[in-house]
């Protein structure tokens, strides 16, 4: 029996195809991409060895550094918004709507599965100023404000992207965190209630500490997703006005495919990967320190 479930030929037949495809299309290109970082050129024109020039260029390239700044700012703010709003919704589901929350949960989750391109094109019209006024500008005008060109100004564009992505994803984080909050044993909450904890105090001292693990995994998942933002930006602002809302992903795409600089594009991609790793490790370590402090 053990011999049958450990049959090497069967392992090869069942695992082989998946491992082969995965290696050829993901692992090999990852290594290949690392090699590209010391070259410049593209598939059509050929390559030339340039050493560490691409990295020197990256750290002296104002557009690249602006992209790093945008990516970090966007990822940090959106992660906080997603986790905080998602957690607030989760608490609403568990403690206010209780058994009746299923319908609300399902409805608020719906935008999650919509194609980002469709949502972004819709939000573009929603915030439009010209040639027609979108609903947002019409409402602003109605309550006596001036209409505003949301996509003509870096800060406003930044916040429209954030609002849209929050709209798209809050239902997801709500359900994710709901699963964590609903698992907190009823008797712990009940005994805290008997001890006189209620409302904010109950949340702060009992529920929040008990949902830290799920909050941590939600945060890590969120930051890894938001650092890789691409669709929303491309379809909503296409990086503009100017390059003010260009994240690293979009900058990588432009340098690679608009300008045909594979070496520099790969360098930008590598920087993005390093950033994802560093941020994840940082959150892990910070949270561990936090957890041990709570234990003392």
């Amino acid at each position: 029996m053990e011999r049958l479930l450990g049959n090497p030929r069967a392992v090869l037949v069942l695992l082989g195809p998946a491992l082969l495809v995965y290696s050829l299309v993901m692992l090999v290109p990852i290594v290949w991409s690392l090699v590209y970082t010391v070259y410049e050129g593209n598939a059509v024109s050929g390559f030339e060895f340039v050493g560490i020039d691409n990295f020197v260029r990256f750290f002296n390239d104002p557009t690249a550094l602006e992209a790093v700044g945008f990516t970090l700012r966007y990822a940090l703010i959106l992660t906080v918004l997603q986790v905080v709003v998602g957690y607030a919704l989760a608490l609403l589901y568990v403690f206010f709507l209780k058994k009746a929350s299923s319908l609300v949960r399902t409805l608020v989750f719906f935008p999650v599965i919509l194609p980002t391109v469709a949502v972004a094109l819709l939000f573009r019209r929603f915030f439009e100023a010209a040639p027609t006024e979108g609903p947002i500008n019409s409402i602003m005008e109605f309550i006596g404000l001036n209409t505003f060109d949301w996509f003509g100004q870096p800060d406003a564009s930044f916040w429209v992207i954030l609002m849209m992505d929050l709209w798209r994803s809050m239902g997801f984080y709500a359900v994710l965190l709901y699963a964590g909050v609903v698992e907190i044993p009823e008797d712990i909450i009940e005994s805290a209630r008997i001890d006189g904890a209620a409302g904010w105090r109950l949340v702060r001292h009992i529920i929040l500490p008990l949902s830290l693990p799920v909050l941590l995994s939600a945060t890590i998942f969120s930051i890894n997703g938001t650092l890789k933002v691409f669709d929303s930006v491309v379809a909503l602002t296409n990086g503009g006005p100017g390059t003010s809302t260009t994240p690293l992903t979009v900058y990588m795409f432009q340098t690679s495919f608009s300008f045909g600089q594979y070496g520099y594009g790969s360098t930008v991609a590598l920087m993005l990967t390093v950033m994802c790793l560093l941020v994840t490790i940082f959150i892990f370590r910070a949270s561990r320190r936090d957890l041990t402090r709570n234990e003392k």
Partner: protein
């Protein structure tokens, strides 16, 4: 007033008043979620001059399907949808077949190094896709696959595998080992155990993973933009993105109709399978 006997009616009213802020909050929440979509559906029936001169809350003058016809005929939406279907379903089939087999080999079968291989797959979940685009572009170019939908099918299959292998391994872990051991004692060979015992046992999980992968691939823009360089190859997402350019950014009706078609497709799926979708997508996130 409190000295009056508290009837059940009073109590009900009081509970209602106390909970009123929550109800209002939930109503606002649902309005924020639903309104943009209602606006989209209404807009897909409006004529150009209604967009330009009527206020945004106005209802369309007629419910004619002209915009939809225009989106399909003039906008080439039908071609885009066909391309998406051709790219998405073969990839999904391959992902499920290869991923389940690999999950089975990694979880049910016993051999040295399976933990390490699972970790190698897991690493693929974290790496940004940007790392693989350029080498793949070169490979597809050299293999003369550029200009076909093969680059999409191959790339989707490979990028969908890590999460699928990981999820299937998790599902196989939940199956009692005795079932497989009993099957071996009955004399079934390993492929039969995989196909006739393993597969049916994870049928539900297979369906969940299929849904998750469908949404990932159908909604993908990055890979579609990278490997479809001509109009004729665009998927629905890449095509919709260029809808604007084609109409000079001002032909609202067909554009709204195009977005609506894209949205309604996923809406219908969600209408019937929402609990499975929610469970699947959130389960897929624990990967991080």
């Amino acid at each position: 007033m409190t000295t009056l006997a508290v009837t059940p009616f009073h109590r009900r009213v009081r509970t209602f008043v106390r909970r009123l802020p929550v109800f209002i909050g939930v109503a606002i929440l649902l309005a924020i979620v639903a309104y943009p979509l209602i606006w989209l559906l209404l807009g897909s029936f409006k004529q150009q001059d209604e967009f330009l001169s009527e206020p945004f809350w106005s209802l369309p003058r007629s419910w004619s399907l002209d915009n939809y016809v225009e989106a399909f005929v003039g906008g080439g939406l039908g071609k885009y949808i066909l391309n998406s279907v051709i790219a998405v379903f073969p990839s999904m089939f391959l992902i499920l077949l290869l991923g389940t087999a690999a999950g089975f080999a990694l979880e049910v079968m016993v051999w040295k190094g399976r933990g390490a291989v699972l970790l190698v797959f897991l690493a693929g979940v974290m790496i940004p896709l940007q790392m693989i685009l350029l080498p793949l572009f070169t490979i597809y170019f050299k293999l003369h696959l550029t200009g076909t939908l093969w680059p999409l099918i191959i790339t989707y299959t490979a990028t969908g595998l890590p999460l699928t292998v990981f999820m299937m391994a998790t599902f196989f872990r939940a199956v009692p080992r005795e079932i497989f051991e009993a099957a071996t004692l009955d004399g079934a060979n390993i492929y039969r155990i995989f196909w006739s015992v393993g597969m049916p046992l994870v049928r539900n999980a297979l369906f969940t993973v299929a849904l998750v992968q469908f949404f990932f691939i159908w909604n993908d823009l990055l890979i579609a933009l990278t490997f479809t360089n001509s109009q004729d190859l665009r998927t629905i997402q890449a095509g919709l993105l260029n809808f604007t350019g084609q109409y000079g950014a001002v032909d609202y009706g067909p554009m709204f109709a195009g977005i609506a078609v894209n949205v309604v497709g996923t809406l219908v799926l969600y209408l019937f399978l929402n609990q499975k979708v929610m469970k699947g997508l959130t389960a897929g996130s624990v990967k991080g």
